[in-house]
Symmetry: C2
Subunit: 201 residues, 2 copies
């Protein structure tokens, strides 16, 4: 198994250390980080000089596409996954998108994932030689955040190792008020569990 | 208009200077070069320590997918184009793939391009808000290399500024014997025109 993370100019670059910790904890010996500069394009609160919205209610989060949407980001991520999978002879690609408690990003929706899977099987040798067949797996897509929290605990995830915040402070502490923190906190609350990470002031 | 080139670890990196010259000659004032490291994945004669095949006949070139195929390369290229287009509010993306006198790459085929266009309109705000609609244009897709040479001359392309070779020598001169050079030379021959670039020994 290969784990792939992206250093794409995101504000919350600290998520890469969290990915490294989690990968190590689960015995993934090949964790790669691909650097892609999406700051040169900008256009998102995650990669540009645009403020991350905070304190929004659950209904507000679900309305429209927020400014934290990074144009074509998951398309770029999956393209790199596809390249690596083809080089390594892997057919199964997993991505942790969620389409229930999420921010309305177009590239988290099941129809996007299905379209990418079709594309993957036309874009590569698989489409011509028919020897392999790529499958894009989205185990978290149809789960609520509470379900995800519960499933993680069942599987032994140490959530103190994880990171979700879009706008952490300098020491990497989560803000507790961006959409991502709010969705995470709501998930823990609904799961009746306590979020072990430390939030900033 | 924005021209986008990719510095992806290709052997024939000299093509980037050619792209810059051609863009300038045609008054494109915004020519961007995105650096993406496909060498870290390898798996192709263009990005890895694998020899570029030479001296192959036209029939041989058309048989199967050659080792110069770079896994998922055009998917990655188009994903970046899509990101930039969405940020800039552009709807028209042009790519110079060819599916007639080509090397059998899966990601040059019309069905791949159509699949990417569908994906583009699901992956982005266009797919949710329905305000814009991306179109992938492939003006060269159904033309023979001879047709392309003729069309370029009609449009005033100075072919001495251009580069096609996969394995240029240190001074950037084309080898004349890789598949790309052979397809180019065949195109000029069939067009009854002389290729103005200088070939190596």
């Amino acid at each position: 198994m290969i784990a792939l993370s992206f250093d794409y100019g995101q504000r919350h670059r600290v998520e890469l250390s969290a990915a490294e910790r989690v990968a190590r904890a689960f015995g993934v010996d090949d964790h790669r980080v691909v650097t892609i500069d999406l700051r040169q394009f900008g256009g998102s609160a995650l990669t540009d000089e645009i403020e991350v919205p905070t304190g929004r209610g659950a209904d507000e989060i679900k309305q429209g596409i927020p400014i934290t949407y990074v144009p074509a980001r998951n398309t770029i991520f999956l393209s790199y996954c596809l390249a690596l999978a083809e080089v390594c002879g892997a057919e199964d690609i997993f991505i942790g998108v969620n389409a229930i408690d999420y921010s309305g990003y177009p590239d988290c929706r099941p129809e996007f994932i299905r379209a990418f899977e079709s594309l993957a099987n036309l874009a590569t040798k698989a489409g011509v030689e028919g020897k392999s067949r790529f499958k894009i797996h989205t185990p978290l897509a149809e789960m609520s955040k509470a379900d995800i929290v519960n499933k993680g605990m069942e599987l032994g995830v140490d959530y103190s190792m994880t990171h979700s915040c879009y706008a952490p402070d300098e020491s990497g502490r989560a803000c507790g008020i961006c959409d991502s923190c709010l969705l995470r906190l709501k998930g823990f609350k609904e799961a009746g569990a306590e979020d072990p990470i430390v939030y900033g002031d």
